[in-house]
């Protein structure tokens, strides 16, 4: 079911190929099953980089949702398969193909998400609450990685502001702090420097309260019509589409409202490279990657012409620019 809504984050007219691909994903998955059965992929399996279906152990459930901005997208969707196999989730390996391989046995149910801190009504949500207590909507967003690649993903989720309203923040609540699950037994990267890239776990992120309350900010529980795969941050993750991808923390177990600006993982690791704000900004370069343009990962191999200009706030200026009025975005990067 689709309905139009006129909120500003809506993108325009979708391209037919990928819309069809989306609708036919069952057929596609079935076809891939046949390919798997005929062992076509087997000879490639020793190649670490060869992309193929992720190990299908993890079972993604179909999700129902009420609204979508799908009917008004003008960016071609990134194929589901690429969204599932190209992940930065260092808890499951620092190479992009690793999370899809190492996360399939991740246990998401039971799950507990604790929301506390400067709030009047702290609450702990369990697995079913994540899907039942809020209005789940489809949001098609651009995802821009600081490494200068980007995707377009149909997320399913609810606005973080819905959750914040529920716990009633006090006047002291100036920032929101997020934490990923810490479970070295399940997450090999937390147990091993080589696998996990030497990051100080658990992964932490933060937003200013107005950023967290912005209607673009969602907690996603699914993508492409189904619950999230572990490599994408199951069962619940943050999506902040005008910021670089690393702000969108995965597999969240704790949300705390606080008075001071919280410490955030990449900022602690290399403060000169990763700011607290991490707003997508073509004018502010990362020391290793020019941010003026990006490669949009959709379909096509080596020769596809997919380098596009990067837009300020990833193209969401209209909805978010007002929050940064008067701030020097080169200082607060």
């Amino acid at each position: 079911m689709t309905y139009s809504n006129k909120r500003g984050f809506n993108l325009k007219e979708s391209e037919v190929t990928d819309e069809a691909l989306y609708r036919n994903r069952r057929d596609l998955l079935k076809a891939m099953g046949y390919m798997g059965a005929s062992m076509l992929l087997a000879p490639y399996s020793h190649l670490a980089h060869a992309t193929n279906a992720p190990n299908p152990t993890f079972n993604r459930q179909p999700l129902s949702f009420t609204g979508s901005n799908r009917d008004s997208i003008n960016d071609k969707l990134t194929p589901e398969q690429k969204v599932l196999t190209h992940n930065n989730f260092y808890e499951f390996g620092a190479q992009k193909h690793q999370p899809a391989e190492l996360a399939q046995r991740f246990v998401v149910n039971p799950w507990q998400l604790k929301i506390h801190g400067e709030v009047e009504a702290p609450i702990t949500l369990d697995y079913d609450d994540l899907f039942n207590r809020f209005t789940i909507e489809e949001r098609i967003y651009r995802l821009r990685c600081v490494e200068a690649w980007s995707m377009v993903i149909p997320w399913l989720g609810f606005e973080l502001s819905d959750l914040l309203r529920m716990v009633k923040p006090t006047s002291n609540a100036k920032f929101v702090r997020f934490k990923t699950l810490y479970d070295p037994a399940q997450m090999p990267g937390q147990n091993n420097r080589i696998v996990g890239g030497g990051i100080d776990y658990p992964y932490r992120e933060g937003l200013r309260i107005d950023e967290a309350s912005n209607s673009l900010t969602i907690l996603a529980v699914g993508l492409y019509g189904k619950t999230l795969a572990p490599q994408n941050g199951a069962p619940i993750r943050l999506v902040v589409p005008w910021k670089y991808g690393f702000k969108s923390i995965k597999s969240i177990v704790e949300i705390e409202l606080v008075e001071q600006q919280p410490e955030t993982t990449w900022n602690m690791l290399a403060p000169n490279e990763y700011g607290f704000y991490a707003n997508v900004n073509p004018a502010v370069d990362h020391p290793r990657w020019s941010q003026s343009s990006e490669r949009r990962l959709t379909t096509g191999g080596l020769f596809s012409r997919n380098r596009i200009k990067t837009q300020l706030f990833n193209g969401y200026s209209e909805q978010v620019a007002h929050m940064y009025k008067g701030m020097d975005l080169a200082t607060y990067y």
């Binding site: 620092a94 370069d285 290793r288 343009s293 080596l302």
Partner: protein, 217 residues
């Protein structure tokens, strides 16, 4: 033909055989990876995968080239020296593929951006310096030029040590936080350079002598 005969023949043609192995193991993966990448079958981001493959592959070949002379000395395999140039040339080919894939597929021929990147990103600056060096070494590997250049040829080809060091730094600087792999490469590079310690010492002494005699004048 007995087993002994086979060994005898293999022994007689060992340089030729090892060269064949080098050709096959350097060329076949390149063809296979580019084939997959062109058809969008090499990971979700074929460009990144190709850059990693050619980069690491080239570095491996460079380190192999550097291990020829210590290995031939330690294991008394003096004929190994005959395959060194081939290894070095393949390292140069991988470097060429690495740089041209970066320009063609990553930057998609945005040459202004390419120049910008060389100037602004230290890891790319260092990488380009290494690429210029390996290109010079590859061009001058031609026997005719080697004879013509005489003693200057060896002087030029000693820059291989600098080149390898630059590649190690390029790799280390290019990663985000996963420094274990580049660190291992730096250790291997360092170990291979240690075998050249007497050579470095001689060169250093020569430099000191030259400076001293210069001062007396």
């Amino acid at each position: 033909m007995t087993v002994i005969d086979v060994f005898a023949i293999a022994n007689k043609h060992r340089v030729w055989l090892v060269k064949l192995v080098i050709h096959l193991s350097a060329m076949l993966p390149v063809i296979y990876y580019y084939y997959l990448a062109i058809n969008d079958q090499l990971s979700a981001d074929p460009v990144e995968a190709i850059l990693h493959f050619t980069g690491i592959g080239g570095f491996n070949l460079l380190l192999l080239t550097l291990s020829v002379s210590p290995a031939s000395r330690i294991f008394s395999l003096h004929w190994l020296v005959h395959v060194r140039r081939l290894l070095g040339l393949y390292a140069a080919l991988y470097a060429l593929l690495h740089v041209s894939s970066f320009v063609l597929f990553e930057l998609q021929l945005d040459l202004a951006l390419f120049i910008d990147e060389i100037v602004q990103r230290p890891y790319i600056t260092v990488g380009m310096a290494a690429f210029v060096l390996i290109t010079l070494l590859a061009i001058t590997s031609w026997s005719v030029l080697r004879r013509k250049m005489g003693r200057r040829w060896q002087a030029l080809h000693n820059y291989n040590y600098l080149l390898t060091t630059l590649v190690a730094i390029h790799f280390y600087w290019s990663v985000k936080s996963e420094i274990v792999e580049p660190s291992i490469y730096i250790l291997i590079t360092f170990a291979l350079l240690c075998f050249r310690w007497p050579k470095f010492k001689r060169g250093f002494n020569r430099l000191v002598r030259r400076l001293r005699s210069h001062n007396r004048c």
